[in-house]
Amino acid sequence: MAIVDLINVTYKYPLMDVPVLKNVTLQVQEGEFLAIIGPNGAGKSTLCYAISGFIPHFFKGELEGTVEVAGVKSKDSSLSEWVLKVGLAFQNPFNQMTGAKFTVFDEIAFGLENMGVPQTEMKSRVDDAMAMTGISHLAKRSPYSLSGGQQQRVALTSILVMQPSVLVLDEPTSQLDPIGTREVFGVIREMSKRGMTVIMVEHKMEWIATFADRLVALYDGEIILEGTPSEVLTSPQLASKGFGLSRYTLAAQAALDKGLWPKKRPFPITLDEAFEGFRLINP
């Protein structure tokens, strides 16, 4: 059974004439890793907010259709209860720090304090979550003294400690350097391996290709393509609509006309796939 179930979701922000999401229907299975791609303004972040309950509880505006997680409609729940089902982390790690806590340990415990978790349970849950994301050594540091990658892992940990069943990530690595990106993806992959349902907006195609079970391409508020990463990411339809494709895919598409890429072989997304394909023509 699908854990996340969106049926005909259409959403308009307040004071806007055109909807940002148009008739989006999407199911995500329990334990699935779903990636969402799309050019700027396609409605990716809005989709994240709709799944994580911020639409309709934080952003007003007009929402049609239903968003259901584990059998409960988001309209029928309050935001503070919904965040226990769906956790949300986003781009800017700095803005995800509460500013009210002076150590990383306290920062991560913030959500549990709000939810009224007893003190002893709180401590062990924070300890476990930090061990899981590999930041135990940062416990006593100030959240503002960390690098971007460390800060983003603290942000992720403070969501994970709430033990949501679905994790929604809105471009969690877009402001990080390559080392920070690798650290954060490491955590996300670990969560996925442990059976958590992950929905991630991401631009880094090579990472998506190695991680995601399924991929959804969003364009102008609508889902235009859906499938496995290799089906979607090599589709010629994407390039014409301004999606940023993997440079390996672009290279192979250009090479095909000149006979430098084997005909009928699917286009590559990662370096390894490209390497193998080009080797067949020129060994």
């Binding site: 934080f58 935001l79 503070s80 982390a89 800017n92 002076f102 959500g111 009224g116 503002y144």
Partner: protein
């Protein structure tokens, strides 16, 4: 760069271990007594017999001394000079120069105001030096202070230094594009304009994102909050608070009875 705007100095002392509310009660008691008392030397006596000894008990005498010297002496000195010179009080004139004719009365009044302000700010400094801001807030929230209010106070302590850093970045960015931030006063004020826009609008976006981030962690939950750090409230604390309240009440009654 400083990561937060706080005077707190971590030390292991009796003063640090007191409950924040006890210290807050002490602070306000000192202020009230200092201002209400009819005896001329009360505020000065409080500084010498209470505040300075307490700063030694709290092992923060060095920090207290420097903050007082850098912040308080100039402010109190300024108040003293202004009041002594300009208060139109009758009495024995000390000297006359131009429009200035200080009297012994205005001198005394100036001293009284200055020393009262000195005592007031001193007791606050002592409180801030020995109390961790988040400890104070979690204790006050537990006693019924709204969570939103506590959040605003504590987060400001950390966010202002971050905003200063951001302002610095914006200035550097504008300067690297040729903005002149040095020179005449008019030029400098003009240079503020391209700084304010990015800083204000950037901060507004940040506020929305931060609101989302704390909502994602159940900030508006209606469940009963719990606290990671229980701030101890010993019977000694309750005793000290009771004594302080009695002293303040007696002082107020004495004052009312006198008049």
């Amino acid at each position: 760069m400083k990561e937060r705007l706080s005077l707190y100095v971590p030390r292991d002392s009796v003063l640090h271990r007191l409950n924040p509310l006890t210290k807050l009660t002490l602070t306000f008691s000192i202020i009230l007594i200092g201002f209400v008392s009819s005896w001329f030397w009360t505020a000065a006596a409080l500084i010498i017999t209470v505040i300075i000894p307490l700063s030694i008990v709290g092992k923060v005498q060095k920090e207290y001394f420097w903050t007082a010297l850098k912040l308080l002496v100039p402010v109190a000195g300024f108040i003293f000079v202004m009041q002594a010179l300009f208060l139109p009080l009758n009495g024995k004139e000390i000297f006359r120069f131009w429009i200035l004719h200080p009297t012994f009365e205005s001198l005394a009044q100036g001293f009284l105001t200055a020393i009262r302000i000195f005592a007031m700010v001193s007791s606050f400094i002592l409180f801030l030096l020995s109390t961790h801001p988040s400890e104070m807030m979690s204790d006050l929230t537990r006693r019924g202070l709204p969570g939103q209010f506590a959040y605003v106070i504590v987060s400001t302590l950390q966010i202002i230094p971050q905003m200063q850093a951001k302002a610095q970045t914006i200035i550097s960015a504008q300067r690297s594009r040729g903005l002149d931030t040095e020179g005449s006063l008019r030029k400098r004020i003009g240079a503020l304009v391209p700084l304010v826009g990015p800083l204000v609008f950037g901060s507004l976006v940040e506020v929305e994102e931060r609101a989302i981030a704390i909502e994602a962690r159940g900030f508006t939950s209606t469940r009963k909050k719990t606290f990671l750090h229980e701030v101890p409230d010993a019977s000694v604390d309750k005793f000290i608070r009771l004594i302080l309240l009695i002293i303040v009440a007696l002082e107020l009654m004495a004052r009312i009875w006198q008049s």
